[in-house]
């Protein structure tokens, strides 16, 4: 068979444009961030950055607030991810059947994700407001003591997780629904012949077949949950008492409220490595899964 040049080099012709674009957009910012992370600089136009070696990194590891923010980030991420994946899968399966008004239902379901995060953060702030918010009004009607939610040092992260789950479970469900729609019909038909229950079919057919899609959804969510910014910034700004301060929020504070460009960059580099490590772990899991 004789293909023209493009077709013979399809592999590279297809991937290079995207690759080059991404590299061009990223290289300078990454290099800049890494470079500044070895300097102390308040962004001054008069005093140039002063080289401090690894001091910014050392200081961060001695900084309790940084260590707390690492903990908060993981706490938030792990709980939110589990909740979103389980709920998202359940909802994807629930919606994966024909019923009246399915289109409308699916569209309504998209609302939380579509609505501007900053505005929704403010809506949730009002809902959570202890004296005049809707959350306590609802709790009161079912006989539960009013709660402090965002104003409580222990409840603030769970409350924020609820917002994140509310906002992003639809995306997980949507990706999984698209995955479900491409599953082959044959295994289900033969399982029906064998008289399998719905649960058996879900565990033995749907889950294994859907695993690659689940991992993709997990990975995309993982990256975003670790980087959650808008809703925390709009509601608590990391408070009360830094108890909801995640790495991304602390990075923002260091950069744009404390004007410590070096520390910010060091934090961003560490943050990047953390996210990268988790992503690689998931990719490795996916590969192992495919090999099996």
């Amino acid at each position: 068979m004789r293909y023209n040049w493009t077709d013979r080099n399809l592999k590279w012709m297809y991937i290079l444009p995207a690759l080059v674009f991404v590299l061009v957009m990223m290289l300078f910012p990454i290099a800049y961030t890494v470079w500044i992370s070895f300097y102390e600089w308040s962004m001054s136009a008069i005093t140039p950055p002063a080289f401090v070696g690894l001091a910014n990194y050392m200081d961060l590891f001695k900084d309790e607030r940084f260590l707390d923010s690492v903990f908060n980030t993981f706490y938030f991420t792990i709980v939110a991810l589990i909740a979103e994946m389980v709920l998202g899968l359940a909802i994807a399966v629930l919606f994966n059947r024909s019923f009246r008004g399915k289109n409308i239902a699916k569209t309504l379901f998209l609302l939380p994700m579509v609505a501007t995060p900053v505005a929704m953060g403010l809506v949730w702030m009002l809902i959570y407001e202890p004296t005049i918010g809707a959350a306590n009004t609802i709790l009161k009607t079912i006989g539960i003591e009013p709660q402090l939610f965002l104003a409580s040092m222990t409840q603030v992260i769970p409350s924020l997780i609820v917002v994140d789950v509310w906002q992003w479970t639809p995306m997980v469900a949507l990706i999984l629904m698209a995955g479900l729609s491409t599953l082959p019909v044959d295994p289900y038909e033969s399982a029906d012949v064998d008289g399998a229950t719905a649960w058996q079919k879900f565990v033995h057919i749907t889950l294994p077949l859907l695993k690659p899609t689940i991992i993709i959804a997990l990975m995309l969510r993982l990256i975003d949950v670790l980087k959650t910014f808008d809703i925390i910034y709009a509601t608590t700004q990391g408070g009360p008492n830094f108890k909801s301060e995640t790495l991304n929020i602390y990075g923002y504070v260091l950069g744009f409220q404390y004007f410590k460009m070096g520390s910010t960059s060091a934090l961003l580099v560490i943050f990047f490595l953390i996210v990268m490590a988790f992503t690689l772990l998931l990719i490795w899991m996916k590969k192992r899964l495919e090999a099996a």
């Binding site: 077709d7 910012p29 239902a105 994700m113 501007t116 900053v118 809707a134 009004t137 698209a178 491409t182």
Partner: protein, 271 residues
């Protein structure tokens, strides 16, 4: 009631419950957009109140909201289309030739914390005189949308049966034609899902837009903040603006949903 009917009822009830939970804050937002400031802050007027349309009138009278809608549309549509143009072939190449390593480089764009881009980009784009231009906004939003599209589509392309491609080759299609004429039409659900999400990410992007947009190219999320000021938060205006922001994406989602369903039922998959 027999078992089948029972199951059906439980499923329907569950569906409604799920929808209610997810839609509630939004309903609250919609209601709030028709309330006055003091009605919003009060908890005895959640559902029963005298509605006012002042908030919406203000949104359009005080601020040039139409301009912001147009700006957001241009940036979101162009960045999504370009992301598809670059991303679909890349995803296909990664899936077909197992180039996960290169795929990871593209994914890194999503991993880098957004704050690290702000100052370097501003330096570059201001040197190129591209601050407050659609070009810089589109490019920056593409860095959010492209990795997303690539990574969702990889898993779709991987799942395609090889037979289809082989059949195409036997029919005399070149690999490029196989991709264009056979693979793409079969991937409707994935393409629509990923571009919908890419559109939404661009539509709601705040961090990049605040730095790169200016007077001419200001997008909606930034305009929403016009209702928060040092001296007051105009809740009603804010909620009205939030509703307006959400509406276009809703309409697009509704249209796209139909398209997914019709595409599937047309039998493209079995083709």
């Amino acid at each position: 009631m027999n078992k089948k009917k029972m199951t059906k009822f439980v499923l329907a009830a569950l569906t409604v419950l799920v929808l209610l939970v997810f839609v509630f804050p939004f309903v609250w937002m919609l209601l709030a957009s028709f309330k006055t400031q003091s009605q919003i802050m009060s908890n005895d007027q959640t559902f029963v109140f005298t509605p006012t349309t002042d908030n919406y009138v203000n949104v359009f009278r005080q601020y040039d909201f139409l301009k912001y809608i147009v700006n957001s549309m241009i940036v979101a549509i162009v960045s999504t289309l370009l992301s598809l143009l670059l991303g679909l072939p890349a995803a296909y190449s990664i899936a077909k030739y197992r180039l996960q390593g290169l795929g990871l480089i593209i994914l890194v764009a999503r991993i880098v914390p957004g704050i690290s881009f702000l100052i370097p980009w501003y330096i570059i784009f201001s040197k190129l005189k591209l601050v407050d231009s659609y070009v810089s906004l589109v490019l920056s939003h593409m860095l959010v949308g492209l990795p997303f599209i690539v990574w969702i589509m990889i898993s779709f392309f991987e799942k395609l049966p090889h037979e289809v491609e082989e059949a195409g080759a036997i029919d005399g299609c070149s690999p490029h034609q196989v991709f264009r004429r056979i693979v793409l039409p079969m991937s409707g659900a994935g393409i629509i899902t990923s571009s919908l999400l890419s559109f939404i990410f661009s539509w709601n992007n705040f961090m990049f837009s605040i730095i790169l947009a200016g007077d001419k190219t200001k997008t909606l999320p930034i305009a929403v903040f016009n209702f928060m000021s040092y001296a007051e938060i105009n809740w009603g205006g804010l909620m009205a603006a939030a509703c307006i922001i959400t509406l276009p994406v809703l309409v697009i989602a509704l249209i796209a949903q139909r398209y997914v369903v019709s595409g599937l039922s047309a039998g493209a998959v079995k083709g």
